[in-house]
Amino acid sequence: MKLFGSRCDCVLAIVRKDFLLNLRRRATFAAMMMFALTTVASLSLSTGGAILDEKFLAAILWVVIFFAATAGLSGTFDDEAQAGTLSTLKLYGDAQAILFGKMFVSMLSLLALTIFILPIFCVLFDVNVEKIFLLLATILFGLIGLAAAGTLTAALTTSAKIKGGLFAILLFPVTLPIFLPAIRLTEISFTSAQVDSSLLVVIGAFDTILILASSILYDYL
C-alpha cells in the first residue's frame, strides 16, 4: 500500500513537472492547437461551405485530432533525452511512474486540444450533433488509447535521427483499431442512426490492452 502510495506520488510529481514545463514553454502546445486550427480551417475553406456527408465529417475530425496529436506528443520525452536526465529520473521514480506520469500529461494535452478544436469544427462545418454524450464518450475513449500508444511511441523515437514523420508512421497502424470504430461512432453521433455500443466496448478493450502493453514494454526500454 505504501509502495503504491509512493508510486502515485512519483506519478503526480512527474505530471506536475511536465505541466509546469509545458506552461513555461508553450511552443509545443501552441503548435498542436494551431496545427488543428489550420487544418480544420483549410478543409472548411476548400470545401467552400458545401454540405458534407456525416461519415466524411467524422473522418475529418479524427484525422485532424490524430495529426495534431502527433505534433504535440512526439516530443514527450525530448526534454529528458536532450538533457540526458531520463536515467536520473528513473532513479527518482521507477520506469512505470515516468510512463504513467507522461501518459497522464499527454491525455491532458489531448483533452485540451479536443476542447479547443471540437466547437470550431462544429461551427465551421455546420455539424449538427444529435447524440452529444455518445460523441463525448467516443472522444474520451479514443483519446485514452491515443495517449497510451502515443507515450510509448514517443519513448521509442527519442533516439531516432528523424522524429516528426516517424512518430506518425509508427503511431498510425497501432491506433487504427481505435480510429475505425471511433469514426463510425462519431458518424452515428452526427445522425439519428441507432447506437452500436459494442464499438465503444471495442475501443475500451483496446485502450486497456494498449495501457497494459505500454506498461509491460516500457520496462524494456
Partner: protein, 197 residues
C-alpha cells in the same frame, strides 16, 4: 532443401498450367490465387516470426534474435507487397476495381504499414543496442492489432472476398485445393530457407 524447393516449385507451376481447371466462376486468369494466397500466408507467418524473435531478444538480449526479427520483417515486407499487388489484380479481374477497402484488403494494408514503420524505425536509429530494443518493442506492440484485424474489421465492413471454406465445407475443386496447399507449403519453405541464409 534447395532441391526440394526447386522440385516443388517446378511441379506447382506445371500443375497450374497443365492440370488445374479454371477456377469456378472466375476463369483462367484467376489462377493468380496460386501466387496470391501463399504470399499472403507467408507475410502473416513472417509478421508473427518477427514478433516471436523480438520477444526472444527482449528476454535474452541475444542480438542474433534481433537479426532474425529484422530479417523476418524484411522478408515479410517483400511478401506482403507481392500479395497486395497480386490481390489487387485478382480484385480487378473479379470485382472490376483494384481496390475497394474490403476487410482483407484493409488487413493486408495495415500489415504493409506496420512492416514499413518497423523498417523505417530501424533505419532511423544508428545505435545497435537501442535499435534492437526499440524495434523489438514496436514489433510486439504492433502484434496487438491482430485480434482487431481478424475479429472486428470483418464485422464492420461488408466483404466481397471469396471465402473458400464455408459451413458446408471446402467449396473448391480437389485439384485446386491440393495445388493451393502445395503452393502454401512451398512458399513457407522458401521463407524458412531465406531466414536461414
Amino acid at each position: 532443401m534447395n532441391k526440394i524447393i526447386f522440385l516443388l516449385t517446378t511441379g506447382i507451376v506445371a500443375a497450374i498450367i497443365f492440370f488445374v481447371p479454371p477456377i469456378k466462376g472466375l476463369g483462367e486468369l484467376a489462377k493468380i490465387i496460386f501466387f496470391h494466397v501463399p504470399t499472403a500466408w507467408v507475410s502473416v507467418v513472417a509478421f508473427f516470426s518477427s514478433a516471436f524473435f523480438a520477444s526472444k531478444f527482449l528476454r535474452t538480449n541475444n542480438f542474433s534474435f534481433d537479426e532474425l526479427s529484422a530479417r523476418a520483417a524484411k522478408l515479410g515486407f517483400v511478401f506482403v507487397l507481392l500479395s497486395t499487388i497480386s490481390g489487387a489484380i485478382f480484385s480487378k479481374l473479379t470485382w472490376g476495381a483494384y481496390w475497394n477497402w474490403d476487410p482483407r484488403q484493409t488487413t493486408i494494408f495495415v500489415l504493409i504499414l506496420i512492416y514499413g514503420a518497423y523498417l523505417t524505425l530501424r533505419a532511423a536509429i544508428t545505435d545497435e543496442k537501442i535499435r534492437a530494443k526499440v524495434s523489438a518493442v514496436y514489433s510486439l506492440l504492433s502484434v496487438l492489432t491482430v485480434p482487431f484485424l481478424v475479429f472486428v474489421i470483418p464485422r464492420m465492413y461488408f466483404s466481397l472476398h471469396p471465402s473458400p471454406i464455408s459451413s458446408s465445407g471446402v467449396e473448391m475443386d480437389s485439384e485446386v485445393v491440393i495445388v493451393l496447399v502445395a503452393a502454401v507449403v512451398d512458399a513457407t519453405l522458401i521463407f524458412v530457407r531465406l531466414m536461414r541464409r
